[in-house]
Amino acid sequence: MRKAIAVIFLGIIGYYLLATFFNIPFGIARVLDGVGFKYLAMGVPDTGAANVVTSIVVNFRGFDTLGEVTVLFLAATGMGALLHHREPMKRSRQNASIIVKAGARILFPLIIILGAYVFVHGHLTPGGGFQGGAIIASGFLLMFMSYRSYHVNHVVISRVESLAGSTFVIIGLFGLVYGHSFLANVLPLGTVNTLFSAGVIPLIYIAVGFKVGSELTGLLDTMLKTVK
């Protein structure tokens, strides 16, 4: 009964939504004066970042990204608060086999370097702080899985997290002081498609990378600690 009602209800909603969205034709440039095309035209000359998505995420709509970092931070904080003081359980997790352990040892630094590469080159190639941070966290996950005794130091993690987050805001405040608006790009833009270009964009993305990496690592560690 409940299922039937749900199906009918969803059917009606789905029909109307789909009918509405079919009015917006797929694959055609619809709004020619939209902000998207302005970003494409201005992105490279005005921000110096070859990757226009990055220049939107970090510069044009950088304020959203600050909010987004905060959302992740909130989730990590909330999880820490909710799982607080669970007595650390005896870990009966098995150590992985020797091959996995050896493999993890070799892979771990490579994964970290890959993550760092992704967020340092965020303004040139696909990727950036969020992707790089997630890759770094998965490197730590590999170590958690392979070695039962592997621990990350929580003090270090929370310091990295704090410093990276406040660096983001401080870069923004620099913009406010020297460029008259929060998050303004006050550094020289440099030559497009080189590592040292796009002013503050790579700096912000590196801060985001550290923040996301440490947050996700901390989040995984918090959750894994509760597993018997």
């Binding site: 917006i24 440039a29 939209g34 494409l40 992105g43 939107i56 909130l74 909710l82 959750m223």
Partner: protein
């Protein structure tokens, strides 16, 4: 067009799970299916036939030949927010399981729904 259909299938299947399923992990899975659906829809809205990704990786690329980058930037934000909500939801699920020793939401309802 097929992207729209795929996106809406995900949204509806996810919403069905949220409305009908009793298992809390299934409900959270439903939420993440909905998220994926909305993300596909947003990116599909920015796609333009025959145009390339909005990255000027070599000088021959022209702004006229690129897809709309804004939906992509928005979806980046939406994905991160989605994983944050999922993680928090699962933490609450863990707490509820600690208290009630069940994942079945219909057995938990002590408050009036």
């Amino acid at each position: 067009m097929i992207y729209y259909v795929a996106a809406f299938s995900l949204i509806l299947i996810g919403a069905y799970a949220v409305l009908v399923k009793k298992n809390m992990i299934k409900i959270v899975l439903g939420l993440s299916l909905i998220d994926s659906g909305v993300n596909i829809l947003l990116v599909a809205l920015g796609y333009i036939n025959g145009k390339t990704a909005p990255i000027f990786s070599n000088p021959s690329l022209k702004a006229e030949g690129m897809v709309d980058p804004v939906p992509q930037a928005l979806v980046l934000t939406a994905i991160v927010i989605g994983v944050a909500v999922t993680a928090l939801a699962l933490t609450i699920v863990i707490r509820l399981h600690d208290h009630h020793k069940t994942l079945d939401i219909s057995k938990i309802r002590e408050l009036k729904w």
